[in-house]
Subunit: 455 residues, 2 copies
């Protein structure tokens, strides 16, 4: 029969078993971290009616959509988890309890140009809190705690949560009489890291933008405000009283900073960063980014913010919310590429490989059954191979323990347990063998999927 060459589409991540186990561990810890903050899991279809999904889309996003017809239906694959959430909340409004807190970890699709590290199918891991009409600022203050606990539980250490407030930015540009130009200005200011302050000033004062030297300098001075949380807040107090919007934003930012320590967020994991804007239309209050301190070139690995109208395309209800998103597939790709995946994590498919050495498999099967009902992940290896090949199989899978049941062991109701890492082997009564394995596994349980390189 002629064979068809198997292949996986470019831009689609497909991992080998060890790496997949790492990825699954990360997803499991994300589910756990999000659950700790009272978010309920949600799952929505990957396919939606195009008119529903594209109610808001346009421009670059719309071009990337996987859109097709099936029968009479115009269908699209979701390109994020926010639009499906908006649809869900508008559709099920009467059946939900607000504030509605949900997390969703799922695949989304964007037909981007294929290139290294860009994915067309990728996981997003989102949380959102949706209020009905109102939503208290405390919800915005809680987000840094969630980001902190999430990345800490994954094992990442050198990261920083950076926060700004859109009202502060909008209020500041209003003070300068530059509200209408604020979008263009923020886009220019966003280039600061890349092109430097002089070049930014040049762009701000060129014919097209038309700012005065004084205005440009005020902007540069403003975004240069840096320091400890207290220093930044004190500097911002200097602008108070000139714009109601600014003052409201400063109050919100002050509240967010105030509760950080009660939320358990260490001071070095958090910074106020006045250069963060996160797009122009959607966010209306606190905005968040998360940087890997040793890899600024990667950009934010967890971002989001406060918005006033989740579902305005579907409903008249005012549904304000705050949310963050992790691009999990991209993050995993970066972590692997930069050497952050913890090789000490147990990624073997089983904790014990049971090797029967007799024709009658019953004693080996009974021992495997006992391990499984104790919650130990156990594989029976029953292929007709030489002992050496069986041990080589255990080595390749990186299984922590091998349990051998030969004639001698079976005659005394015993099992020979080999600790593969320590290289130690002991012949024990079956019930003690189970205990030996259980206590051995406890050692490895605290390993996290991420480990800082060089640690």
């Amino acid at each position: 029969m002629a064979k068809l060459k198997p292949r996986t589409l470019s831009g689609f991540m497909e991992l080998l078993p060890e790496k997949q186990a790492q990825f699954e561990k990360m997803a499991e810890l994300l589910r756990k971290a999000y659950s700790l903050y009272g978010f309920t899991p949600l799952d929505t279809p990957i396919i939606e009616a195009s008119e529903v999904l594209l109610a808001k889309a346009g421009g670059e996003t719309e071009k990337q959509i996987y859109r097709f017809t099936k029968g009479d239906s115009d269908l699209s694959l979701r390109f994020d988890l926010t639009v499906p959430l908006a649809k869900y909340v508008a559709l099920h409004y009467g059946e939900l309890t607000f504030p509605f807190r949900r997390f969703q970890i799922g695949k989304v699709y964007r037909g981007e140009r294929a290139q290294r590290g860009r994915f067309r199918e990728f996981y997003q891991a989102d949380i959102d809190v949706i209020g009905d009409g109102k939503l208290d600022i405390a919800n915005e203050a809680e987000i840094p705690a969630i980001i902190y606990q999430t990345f800490t539980s994954l094992g990442l250490e050198r990261f920083q949560i950076r926060v700004n407030n859109r009202k502060i930015l909008n209020g500041f540009y209003a003070m300068l009489g530059l509200t209408e130009k604020s979008g263009d200005i923020m886009r220019t200011v966003d280039k600061l890291d890349k092109i430097g302050a002089d070049k930014v000033k040049e762009l701000l004062t060129d014919e097209e933008m038309g700012l005065t030297d004084e205005q440009a300098q005020e902007i540069l001075d403003f975004i240069a405000i840096k320091g400890s949380q207290g220093e930044v807040l004190a500097a911002l107090e200097g602008y108070r009283g000139r714009s109601e919007v600014f003052d409201a934003g400063l109050d919100e930012l002050t509240t967010v900073v105030k509760y950080l320590s009660a939320f358990g967020v260490p001071e070095d994991k958090f910074a106020v960063d006045l250069t963060i804007a996160r797009g122009l239309d959607y966010y209306t209050g606190t905005v968040y980014e998360t940087a890997m301190v040793d890899h600024p070139e990667i950009g934010s690995i967890c971002s989001g913010g406060r918005y006033d109208n989740l579902a305005e395309y579907y409903t008249d209800k005012q549904l304000p919310g705050v949310g963050i998103s992790i691009g999990l597939t991209r993050l995993f790709y970066i972590l692997e590429e930069q050497g952050y995946l913890n090789e000490a994590l147990n990624t073997a498919p089983a904790d014990v490989l049971v090797l029967p050495m007799t024709d009658d498999l019953a004693p080996a099967i009974a021992f495997a059954t006992a391990l499984r009902w104790e919650g130990v992940r156990t594989q029976l290896y029953t292929e007709q191979k030489k002992f050496k090949q069986k041990m080589s199989y255990a080595d390749k899978l990186n299984v922590p323990f091998v349990a051998i049941l030969g004639e001698d062991e079976i005659a005394k109701g015993a099992v020979s347990v080999k600790d593969m890492a320590a290289g130690e082997q002991a012949t024990l009564p079956a019930d003690e063998a189970v205990k030996r394995v259980l206590s051995g596994l406890d050692r490895g349980r605290e390993e996290k999927p991420i480990r800082e390189p060089g640690k």
Copy 2:
């Protein structure tokens, strides 16, 4: 602004939070059960190149495929998890260790006619063991144990695993000289439950099928073999020596039955059922179905079997395997409809709702933080509402505990903890309050997502 009516496509399951929590619990327990047997998690793209995905497809399946073009690419959504597995194993053959044991829980797509209980997007939960060239019969013997432990861990009690062997069927029809007609015969015999033995005999002996009365009676006698495992095997021994294929199949079935008790499968959960065939081309050895004893009309809720060539469309390597699949979305739908979902399962998004009663939220936040670092799922409720409305929110979410921090509590470093089920409230020092919650939660942890109706 004109509003667009939000809707979810028909044939796509979208659950409300409580039901979603039930579904997630089932998926979590499936991952756990599969992991106990040494299966590694796998994830493959939902989109594949059409030529790859449809290498084997044809007929009814092909018509149901979601197929479309994006740019120059002819793409399709996967319609099962087996073809992607075949592609994966053929593509990564050199990087895998065999036997390769993987589980995958993922969405698949079939554009079926929409009707109640039929889904176009649904989860399959599959396991497969793939050998390189050979695969020992013990792998087939292990499958009933996996099915048994899986459904038991979910809470299902009245189910039966039914097993047959394709070699027994093929050998039997070869004895009668009916190999060429065996496909048509099996399709007819499959109707036994619906149309009765007389009608089956009539169809077998009609002009089109052309069997003699004697042949038809032999077939009916054969499939009528019933009884305990020992009785069925004894009856089958009566046919031994007439067909090598039959004898090989009987040896395999005998091995499967022999190890059941060592695998911990109770006798009443297992039956040999000679009417099971599971399609005609793919399976070559043991085949499995799982019935809900009280709902025969539902058909099999977990099926599969042994096959000889997983990936013959992609590779010359002989890759025999054995696998089973649960149609999780359909199963969940049935369980809900038939009243099998356990309402005692804790489906609340949080275990504790913390209610701050003062303007300064810091003490309440600190208490919530302490709970979270102890692994307790905790929600802070900070909206400006009356106490009654806050308690009503806790009721609606079905949160097990409410923790109240008012002026009085804060002054003494205490928390008032209300056990919502018991209706009891106690004011305790903060650290004791954490312990009270932890011990209270232990009570509910053993609940399973499924409970037999009437129990």
